[in-house]
Structures are given as structure tokens and as C-alpha cells.
């Protein structure tokens, strides 16, 4: 157990250390979510005036709900890029060779992703609050949001990790990014689900991310949340992708790293 956690901490340390000592890696992770927030909350605020748009905490809070999840998910995907690069450049061999328990490698990368997501979402939150966002969450709602962020990041990271360990090349970047991008945008991004038109409405209705996004927005507005649906979905996604990631690790072992 001590051995396992020592390995995981080593992997996490490296991924955080590299991110925070290389501005070129850190800056996009910090700036992207801010960009989305500014563009959507600032540029589209008149959308909040549409008839039928009902959200008590304001359009900026509504968009914050989206950008928060997006930042968490992309924090996870970003880890996948790192894993793919490590395999492509051969550094992963050091991990595979040195870690008595290799599952600890995944846990380490995951801890790194959560660490990064914590920083980016905190910065996003501060900027949003300073620029006038006024959520109506209770302390319990905030705790719920933190959990939601962590689970979203975990699910996305494990998904990307599974892809990275199977394909082992940075060329796999789009294969990690695109699906996450798609499921995020095929949810009610700009307006509540009822106002989404056409085929996207149909897709958004069954998209599990819709539950997370709606749940997050309800927590931000201090409204009642169906915990079972929201957190159940998040945990199910994280669990499913954990299996996917572990099988990715087995595939990497089989084909030789």
C-alpha cells in the first residue's frame, strides 16, 4: 500500500511539476476556460432575456455552470495528452519498469489531473466572482460542486487515459479531445434544455452530460438537485471509464511499452 501510494505520488508530482514549470503548458489550461466564460457569459448575455429562459441566478452563472464542467473535463483530457506523449517518447517505460504495481501509474496521472483542475477551476471561479457573478449556493451546494468537478475530471481523464494507452501516440490527441468536446457541446450549453432546438434537443435529452450540467447549474442557483441522478451519473461515468483505462493499461502491457 505504501509502495502503491509512493508510486502514484511520484507520477502525480512529475505531471504537476512539468505543468507548473512550463508556462507554455500551463497557460492554455488556465486561459481557455476564462476565454469561454468571457465569450459566452459576456457576449451572449442577451440570450438570457429570451422568453422561456428561466434561471434565477443570471446568465453569467448559467454559463459558469457550463464552463466549470468544461474546464474540469479538459483538465482530464490534458492528462491524456501527457500520457500519450510519455508513451511516444518512451518515458512511460520508466514507469512501467519501476512501478511494482502499475495501476498506481494511472492513479498518479489522475491525481495530477485533479491537481490541475483544482487550480484552473479555482482561478475561473475567482474571475467569475470578481466580474460580478452571483451564485446562490449554500455551503452544501459548494461541496456538491467540488465533488461534481472532481468526478467530471476523473471520468474525462480515465477516458483519455484509456485512449492514450491503447494508441500510444500524440497523434491520438483528437481521439481524446473530440469526443469530450462533442458530448459537452451536445448538452444544453447556451440555453436550458427546453429551448434547445432540432436534433440537438433529442441528443441532449439522452446525453449523460446534460444531467451533470443541469445538476451543476441547480447547485449554483441553490435549487433542489436530484442527487441520485446527478452524482449517480457522474460516478457511473467515472467507474465505467476506470474499467476502460485499466484495460488500456493491460493493452499497453501486452503490446510492450
Amino acid at each position: 500500500m505504501r509502495e502503491f501510494s509512493s508510486t502514484a505520488r511520484a507520477v502525480a508530482w512529475r505531471s504537476l511539476h512539468i505543468t507548473f514549470t512550463n508556462p507554455a503548458l500551463l497557460a492554455p489550461a488556465l486561459i481557455f476556460p476564462l476565454m469561454f466564460y468571457v465569450a459566452f457569459a459576456g457576449g451572449l448575455s442577451s440570450v438570457g432575456d429570451l422568453p422561456g429562459f428561466e434561471y434565477s441566478a443570471g446568465y453569467d452563472t448559467f454559463q459558469f455552470g457550463f464552463v466549470l464542467l468544461q474546464a474540469s473535463a479538459f483538465g482530464g483530457v490534458f492528462s491524456g495528452f501527457g500520457i500519450a506523449a510519455d508513451f511516444e517518447r518512451g518515458f512511460a517505460r520508466r514507469y512501467m519498469l519501476s512501478a511494482p504495481r502499475r495501476e498506481a501509474i494511472i492513479v498518479g496521472y489522475l491525481l495530477g489531473a485533479l491537481g490541475r483542475a483544482a487550480i484552473t477551476t479555482s482561478l475561473l471561479t475567482v474571475v467569475a466572482l470578481v466580474t460580478g457573478m452571483r451564485p446562490q449556493s449554500s455551503a452544501a451546494d459548494v461541496a456538491g460542486l467540488v465533488l461534481l468537478v472532481a468526478l467530471t475530471c476523473t471520468a474525462a481523464m480515465l477516458f483519455a487515459c484509456g485512449v492514450a494507452m491503447r494508441l500510444k501516440t500524440v497523434q491520438a490527441g483528437p481521439a481524446m479531445q473530440m469526443p469530450v468536446f462533442l458530448v459537452l457541446f451536445l448538452a444544453p450549453v447556451f440555453v436550458p434544455l427546453d429551448l434547445v432546438a432540432g436534433w440537438v434537443h433529442g441528443v441532449a435529452t439522452v446525453n449523460p452530460v446534460t444531467a451533470l450540467m443541469t445538476g451543476g447549474r441547480d447547485l449554483l442557483a441553490g435549487e433542489a438537485v436530484s442527487e441520485l441522478l446527478v452524482f449517480g451519473t457522474a460516478i457511473a461515468l467515472a467507474g465505467g471509464f476506470a474499467v476502460w483505462a485499466l484495460r488500456g493499461l493491460r493493452s499497453a502491457e501486452r503490446t510492450g511499452s
Binding site: 509512493s6 514549470t21 517505460r93
Partner: protein, 318 residues
């Protein structure tokens, strides 16, 4: 069951699609032994190392390292081994010291011992001054030395070195030889070392296996191999240069001629060193005066040639 820090390999095999990289090899390595795995490019050396270090599952056969099966007891194997692979896995963005700390933590070394171990190993591989520079700026030799230090962090009882001296200058190469011998002698570390250099295997290894196209073609101590296969060659310079032709004529009775410098004649002695007295008598009888008379012991290259019918590609060993 292999002894605690030995290696036992039985009919080990690895195929890639329809290419058989390692074709049923078997050998056993005793604890504390330096085992040289000698072969040309593409012979299957690295593939063997990857299988023994649990980085690549075998397609057939079995192998145990430190008493644990490489296919089914990977975690236990990894606890006991250290490896410096052919391509050093280093991160250009981390410093040498950071690599050592990372490695110590990866292997679960206790926090208190990490720093001391880092300092000690940096010193031992001569990287103390460069310790806080990013590895991206290291020379090839420095990277290899760092890789070796990383392999030693947790004090493994078995060490795998895949072509550790390729790309090193002569000084660094003999330093590394010195360090490897010391590890085996003083710390009882078992060393599995691959190389394309005959001289390296000869100098360093207690025992050698020669691998060619995935199969082991010869195995034994360097001396036994040379004795078994290679015959010594004799190089003679006549005191009167005009005698050279006649000298060569006489020598050819004892075996095939081999290349010799101008003014000399050389022959590979079919009867080995035992035939020497005979040669001297014949030359005396012919009245050929001798200036120099040198017996060259057989080399591993002779062994390699005899076993595979080919020469090792790289003979330019300093």
C-alpha cells in the same frame, strides 16, 4: 525455481507478427555473475531484455528472474531488478536530481533515505556538478550515466544493461566497466549485459552467450569459448626479407594463411598452440632465420565467425 537473485530462462520465445525475434532461448545465470549477451544488430538482445524486465510478454517458454515468473509475477520481479535500457527513458524537462528523486519515489523508497541516496549516486556517476541542470542539455554520455544511476536507486539485486557503452568515449566506457565490475564483486549484484562489442564481453563478463537471429549459438566462459573454437594464429617476420615467400610456403603446411603486415607471414594454426614446436623445427630445417615470432591467442571474433559464419559488424573497438 531460480536462486534468489539469479535468472533462469527456458525456451523463451517472442514473435512480432510473422517475425521471430527470439526463437526459444535457454540459459541460467547464477547470483553475482556478470552475463554477457553478445550479438549483432537485430539479433534479439533488446527483445530478450524487455521480456526479462517484464516490459514485453513472451510469446512462449518461461523465464524467472529473482525466483519470480516474468509473465505472472511481474510486480515481484520489478521490485528486485534495475534496468538501463537501450534508449534511456529520460524527461528533457527534468533535472538529473529530479529524475533520481522521482525514481526513488516511484520505487517506494522511504522519504528519509531518498536525498542521501540521490547525492551518493550522483557522486558515483560523476554528475554532481550537472545535477541541477535539465536533462535536455545533457550530452549522450551524461544521459547514459544518469540512466545507470536511476537503475541503481533502489539497490536492485539484478541489473539489466542493454548496450550500456554504445556512444561512450573510451574513458567513460572504462569507467562504466569499472563500476559494473565493482557492483558484481562488492555488492553481489547479478548483471545481465548486452553488447555488440567483443572486447566488452571479453573483459567484463564471467560468462557469455552469443545470440544470432534469435537463437543462442554458443555459451560459456570467454576462455572456454575461445579454447573450444578459436585456434591461435602465428605471425612471423624473417630476418632476411628475401625469405618471406619461402616462409609463407612453409607456414601454409600448418593451416590457412591469414592477413599479415608487409614483410611478415601469418597462419592460423590448425593444431592449436601444441603445434608450435613442430613449426619451429620445420623453419629451422629450412634454414629460415627469424626476426619476430608472435603467437596470437584466439579472440571472441573467431568464435563468432566459427559459430555463425559471419563477422560481427562492428570490429572497431578501441
Amino acid at each position: 525455481m531460480a536462486p534468489a537473485s539469479g535468472i533462469e530462462v527456458e525456451n523463451l520465445q517472442r514473435t512480432f507478427k510473422d517475425l521471430t525475434a527470439v526463437d526459444g532461448i535457454s540459459f541460467a545465470i547464477e547470483p553475482g555473475e556478470i552475463f554477457g549477451f553478445l550479438g549483432p544488430n537485430g539479433a534479439g538482445k533488446s527483445t530478450t531484455v524487455l521480456m526479462l524486465t517484464t516490459l514485453l510478454p513472451p510469446s512462449g517458454g518461461r523465464a524467472s528472474v529473482a525466483g519470480f515468473d516474468v509473465a505472472t509475477e511481474g510486480p515481484d520481479v520489478r521490485r528486485h531488478i534495475g534496468a538501463a535500457l537501450q534508449e534511456a527513458a529520460l524527461d528533457p524537462l527534468l533535472t538529473g536530481r529530479e529524475h533520481l528523486r522521482l525514481q526513488a519515489s516511484l520505487q517506494g523508497l522511504a522519504k528519509q533515505t531518498r536525498d542521501a541516496r540521490t547525492v551518493e549516486l550522483l557522486e558515483r556517476v560523476g554528475l554532481t556538478d550537472a545535477a541541477d541542470r535539465r536533462v535536455g542539455g545533457y550530452s549522450g554520455g551524461m544521459k547514459r550515466r544518469l540512466d545507470l544511476a536511476l537503475a541503481l536507486v533502489h539497490g536492485p539485486s539484478i541489473l539489466f544493461l542493454d548496450e550500456p557503452t554504445t556512444g561512450l568515449d573510451p574513458q567513460s566506457r572504462s569507467d562504466l566497466w569499472e563500476e559494473v565490475s565493482r557492483l558484481a564483486r562488492d555488492e553481489g549484484v547479478t548483471v545481465f549485459l548486452t553488447t555488440q562489442y567483443l572486447e566488452e564481453a571479453d573483459q567484463l563478463a564471467d560468462r557469455i552467450a552469443i545470440i544470432s537471429r534469435g537463437s543462442i549459438v554458443a555459451e560459456g566462459t570467454p576462455d572456454a569459448l575461445k579454447g573450444e573454437i578459436g585456434r591461435p594464429s602465428l605471425e612471423v617476420v624473417p630476418s632476411d626479407a628475401a625469405d618471406r615467400e619461402r616462409l609463407a610456403q612453409v607456414l601454409s603446411e600448418f593451416g590457412p594463411a591469414t592477413a599479415a603486415p608487409t614483410g611478415a607471414a601469418a597462419v592460423r594454426l590448425e593444431a592449436g598452440a601444441d603445434g608450435l614446436a613442430q613449426v619451429v623445427r620445420r623453419l629451422d630445417a629450412e634454414g629460415i632465420g627469424l626476426n619476430t615470432f608472435d603467437l596470437h591467442a584466439p579472440t571472441l571474433d573467431d568464435v563468432f565467425l566459427a559459430k555463425t559464419g559471419e563477422r560481427l559488424a562492428d570490429e572497431a573497438v578501441a
